[in-house]
Amino acid sequence: MMKTTPLFSALGFSKIFLSVVILIIVLSGLAIPSLIKSTFYLGLFINAITLGIAALSIGFLAHQCGLIIFGAAGFTGGATYLFGIAVMYFNWDVTSAAVFCLASSTLISLLMGMVMVRARPLPFAMMTLALAQMLHSVVKLTAYREVTGADDGLTLNWSGNFFGMTQAELARPANFWTVAWLALCGVMLLAWWVGQSRAGEILRATKANEERMRFSGFNTYVPRVLAFGLAGFIAAVSGLLVGLHSAFASPELLDFTTGANSLVSMLIGGATVVTGPILGALLYTMGQDQFGASGHLELLTGVGVVIVVVAFPKGAIGFVQSGIKRLTGRHHASN
């Protein structure tokens, strides 16, 4: 029997070499604040990271399960509110609140996933949107002003240090970069690892042909619930970062347009690899900055998104991948 060649070997990399490369990238990223002195641009990149992580949660579920989250804001903004409620209402210290935020968001996602992943892709997408809109309405209710701050939102103040940083230090982009960068690397590695694992293989096979999977003895339901839970966790990381950095939870975080930013970032970047949504978020954030300066933000964003989606159906990362393939193909041909 012939054996399938593992991806790393096919690329000529050993696992150790790949691990060293990843470690170098992670450590190099920590040095970025010493290279970019501008607080504005560092802040812009931090926004791209939080948006990218939210886009990654959408992209992960889209690539692995074929399910699109329209209401990503419900998962990111919901996590920001959970963090805010923990520090303001329960008066927990920042680390406990962060753990609570991630754990409860993941648990809620798992519970919702038990109901939602049974739906077909379009109803699923609409249910996530409905959920986000419901949350948006709930936090604005004056009856819950004490807990959510209603229309005014929650201004957050907390005690304790988060990874040795006070609230004031976390608000400074140069300091917060370390937290954001490590969180980004962590969720990217997690999503990549799950995608490469047997669980990822089962999820993609289920996406391709669920009936055959069931007739092959696979439970196709539980893996999708777990994938939804993981997507919820990744989105919660994004929401937590927003809460830690901005120290503010506002109803706008739960608005459809906030979720749409993540969705568009995923479309621009592509979802086939974990770097796609991150690249998409970076391009989207930079584009928004440039378009905003022109005074025609919505118009230029719309035109830009249409051009990118039509020209690069597999996203920017798909374009990069095909470019590399062409180059390496030529290289092999010339050899």
Partner: protein, 232 residues
């Protein structure tokens, strides 16, 4: 092994299957199911495998009533199936998908399936890049993984040429004999069924006409009038 008692399936006012009774007890045989379009062949397959819900009757496997059991449960009982449309995993290699299913079902002799169905040559190829005839063999291999005792194949030769159909049935005969698995095969190519199957069931308009050896079925008056006409 498999017993069907008074099985009926209705779609609205249309009776796709009408009180069908069938018993398949012999191991290591090819059992063909023939009939014109609308005879209820695929519905019979779907009702046996749990893909559609019978309106009446029971499906028993090894004496256990499996009529309302979920698909995964039936698979663990030893029932597998292939579909009218090729049902493989397009985005991964032939080897990856067979190994994935083999791991799930604890299949130890995947290599013998690959050898018998001549799949070694295409093992590392992406499943959607191989020829249609090869895809049909991969489909059958996926149904064979996990040592099923009963395999239901819905038109395995659909879309194949006469030569490819003959080759596919030769492969099928080889695997059912080697692995002592019984295959219930729905097939439009009546000549192939008569040539290769050990037993045949004939259906017409949802009703069972007869079950017997190819020689018995070939001379059955109802079968002659319903399916074979003057060419029988």
């Amino acid at each position: 092994m498999l017993r069907i008692e008074d099985l009926s399936v209705s779609y609205g006012s249309v009776k796709a299957l009408d009180t069908v009774n069938l018993a398949v007890s012999q191991k290591g045989v090819l059992h063909g199911v023939i009939g014109p379009n609308g005879a209820g062949k695929s519905t019979l397959m779907d009702a046996i495998t749990g893909r559609c819900k019978p309106t009446q009757g029971r499906v028993l496997m090894n004496g256990i009533d499996i009529t309302s059991r979920p698909i995964e449960w039936r698979r663990r009982m030893g029932m597998s199936r292939s579909f009218q449309r090729t049902s493989i995993f397009p985005g991964i290699t032939v080897g990856q998908q067979l190994e994935m299913v083999a791991t799930q079902l604890g299949e130890k002799n995947l290599h013998s399936i690959l050898d018998t169905l001549e799949l070694n040559e295409i093992y590392d190829l992406m499943a959607d890049s191989i020829a249609y005839g090869d895809q049909r063999r991969v489909d059958i291999a996926l149904a064979l993984v996990g040592q099923p005792s009963l395999m239901l194949l819905d038109e395995p030769a659909a879309g194949l040429s006469t030569a490819e159909t003959v080759k596919l049935f030769e492969h099928l005969l080889a695997v059912v004999r080697q692995r002592n698995v019984t295959a219930l095969v729905v097939e439009h190519d009546v000549e192939a069924v008569f040539k290769f199957c050990d037993a045949i069931t004939a259906l017409d308009l949802g009703r069972l006409l007869t079950t017997g050896t190819p020689a018995e079925v070939r001379v059955h008056p109802d079968v002659i009038s319903a399916y074979l006409g003057s060419s029988a």
